[in-house]
Assembly symmetry: C2
Homo-oligomer: 190 residues x 2
DNA sequence: GAGACAAGTAAACAATTGCTGACTTCACCG
DNA sequence: CGGTGAAGTCAGCAATTGTTTACTTGTCTC
């Protein structure tokens, strides 16, 4: 076996802990408001190791964005158009993992590369939605898919970052119905 | 006449200039990433005056939020349900004043009072939309109104903060149609 | 015009920021 | 077992942060 006893010195493990702590901090407090010492303390790791493993605070942030992108892409899966609303409703009300990744993805850092990653992830999500719609006229469809993405993003914000009632405590069932209407209106047949 | 010669010392004027500079900086860069020196320089004003007129950086931010709230409430006006989509489309593609206020409103600062203001403005906006729908079952309607608000917020983000094509350069006409569908789906009769 | 008070300035403060370099300690291999 | 390189520590750096304090300058009134 490879991971028998938990080694007291494990580069891979500390890297992972740093990433996890950073994701939570960046997601909750934003980039500028988060200090590398906060992250290191949360991870139970020395501050200097951030620079060793990620070169800089910005490097760590970019790694977080990449992770969030993969996570979102994975969680999206391949869902037919009819199932999209329910999927969004589930993930918004579920373990709060997806909203967290989403809110992380929306945090700005002033870093150019971070912006690039952000844009790429968002655009690819929209394209995935558009593909599920299976329509011609790809440009109009893509715009409508991006509007659905906008709804999802706004939903995450109004539940996670600045909770507003009754939306904040609505269950998956409460959300699925109106979200279904939106999906139908934006991308439904005809 | 009251404003004959532009006085070189005018508390009201410098207050105004500070607020304007702060709104732009906070809106574009976020709270934590903006320094009081940035704001003061933009306003062409001494840094210490921020603390004199607004007590603290947080005080200045709260003043900005209040201003954004009034501005948004004013720009919303009283629009019948059928006109909402067009109104949103206009303001998103117009002078970029409204998206700027919106993105300012969504910036977090860790300040408790700021959160309170934010929440109040957002909730009152949602209530205004719900009222325009003129439906019974106020709770379900309010949730649907908040979903439309979520769409608007996400739209502002995907045009202003992290521009995504083709949504970012879509004109008012391009937006009005799909937005109309969303409004109809969420709050339309039946 | 002189005095008085508000408006604006300059400098410095204590704290915090991201980051670095020299050091120590552990784990593994021959 | 011993040494060798990676993993982790420590202290401190230079820069920047929000804020305050003591000061100067403008402007209005009597």
């Amino acid at each position: 076996m490879t991971t028998s006893t938990p080694r007291r010195r494990d580069a891979e493990e500390t890297r992972r802990r740093l990433l996890e702590a950073a994701r939570r901090r960046f997601s909750e407090d934003g980039y500028a408001a988060t200090t590398v010492r906060d992250i290191a303390d949360d991870a139970g790791v020395n501050v200097a190791l951030i620079n060793r493993y990620f070169a800089s605070k910005e490097g760590l942030f970019e790694a977080c964005l990449r992770h969030a992108g993969e996570e979102l892409r994975r969680s999206a899966g391949d869902v037919p158009l009819a199932g999209i609303a329910g999927r969004i409703a589930e993930q918004m009300t579920g373990a709060a993992e997806v909203p967290a990744q989403l809110s992380l993805l929306l945090r700005t850092s002033g870093d150019e590369r971070a912006d690039e990653i952000r844009r790429a992830v968002l655009l690819s999500s929209a394209e995935k939605i558009a593909a599920a719609a299976g329509r011609p006229d790809s440009d109009r469809t893509l715009l409508r898919a991006e509007l659905l993405l906008a709804t999802t993003i706004g939903l995450a914000l109004l539940r996670w970052t600045t909770p507003i009632e009754p939306l904040a405590s609505a269950g998956a069932d409460d959300l699925a119905e109106p979200l279904g209407d939106v999906v139908e209106a934006l991308l439904g047949a005809r």
